[in-house]
C-alpha cells in the first residue's frame, strides 16, 4: 500500500467518524430553540446509552464450556465495582479496586482450577 493510499484511508475514516458524531449538530444545531422532543431525548438518553454501554462491555460473557469462567470473573468484578461504589462513592477507588481484583482473579482462578 502506498503512503498516499494509507493517508486517504485514514482521512476517510476520520471524516466518517466525525460525521457520525456531528450528525445531531447538523440536524438540530442551526435552530435557535430546540424542540421539546429533542430536549426530552437529550435529557433521558444518556441513562439508556450508559446502561447499553455497560452491556456492551460485558458482551463477551457467555455460559458455554469455553467461556463461562471468564464470564463469571467479569460479573464478580462488576459486583466488586458496584459494591465499592455504593459503599464509598469514590470513582477512582471503585474503578481501581475493581480492575485490580479483575486482573488478580484472571490470573489466580484459572491456575487454581487447572
Amino acid at each position: 500500500m502506498t503512503p498516499g493510499r494509507t493517508l486517504l484511508v485514514i482521512g476517510i475514516a476520520a471524516v466518517c467518524t466525525f460525521l457520525t458524531r456531528a450528525f445531531p449538530f447538523l440536524l438540530f444545531g442551526g435552530k435557535k430553540e430546540l424542540s421539546p422532543a429533542v430536549r426530552f431525548l437529550g435529557n433521558c438518553l444518556p441513562s439508556a446509552i450508559i446502561a447499553a454501554l455497560v452491556v456492551y462491555c460485558l458482551r463477551s460473557v457467555s455460559f458455554d464450556a469455553a467461556g463461562w469462567l471468564n464470564g463469571v470473573i467479569q460479573l464478580v468484578s462488576v459486583g466488586i465495582v458496584a459494591g465499592l461504589h455504593l459503599w464509598k462513592r469514590n470513582i477512582l477507588l471503585s474503578i481501581g479496586g475493581g480492575t485490580v481484583c479483575y486482573m488478580a482473579l484472571l490470573r489466580i482462578v484459572p491456575a487454581l482450577l487447572s
Binding site: 475514516a13 452491556v55 462491555c57 474503578i95
Partner: protein, 254 residues
Amino acid sequence: MSSSKSKEEASENAHTQSIFSNSETWKYALVQSLPVFFGYLFLGIAFGILLEQAGFRAGWALLSSLVIYAGSGQFLLVSLLRDNASLAAVSAMTLLINGRHIFYGLSFVEKFRAMGRKGLYMIFSLTDETYSVLCSIHPPAAVDPKKAMFRIALLDHSYWILGSLTGALMGQLIPFDFEGVDFSMTALFVVIFLDQWKSMPSHIPAVVGIFSSVFFLLLLGPDRFLLPSLAAAAIILFLCKRWIVPKLEGGGEG
C-alpha cells in the same frame, strides 16, 4: 479604541477570575479524566502494537489517533488497511461501527454551540468514554464548567495518543503483563451508571437501556447489537414520554 478594548478584556478577565479558578478547573478536569487514563493507555497501546504488526510505522498510529480518535473504529482500521479494503468499504464500515455516536450529541447541542470554535473539537472528540464522563460531571462553583468539559476532552484525547504511540514504538518491550487492564473501561461505565441511577428522578431510561441492549445482544449477537438497541431505546423512551416527563420535572423542582 484599542486601549478601551483591552481594558474591557482585562475587566472581563478579572470578572471571570473572581468566579472561577483556573487551577481548580485544571485539577477538576484531571481528576475527572483520570478514570479514562488507564483504559485509554492500554487500549491505545494495543492499537499501536496491532498497527505496527500490520506493517505501519509509529507515524501512522500517531496520525490515526490524532484525526480519527475512535477505539473500535481504529481497530477496524487496522484490518481495513491490512486487507487493502476498497474506499467504499472503508467509509461504509466506519460509519456502521461508529453509528451509535449519532445519539450522543443530542444531549450537548446547546452546550457545545455555546462553546464556539472549541465546540467543534468537543463534537470531534465525543467518544463513548468522554461522553459518559461529560454526562456525569457536576462541577463545583469554583470550576468553569465549559473549560472543564474542554479540558476533560483534551486530556482523554492525549491519553489515547500517548497510548497508541507507546504501543507502536515499544509495545513489544513493555515487560508488564497488561491483560485485564481494559476492565477499567467496564468499571468506568458501571460507576457512571450507578451515579446516573442515583441522580436521575426517573429510572425508566436506564431500565429501557438495559432491556433493549440485552434483547438485541441475544437476538443479533455481540458484534452488531449496539446501534439497533440505542435506536429502539430512543423510540421506546419517546413512546413512554408521558410517564417520564412528570418525574423529570418533579425532580427538577425538588
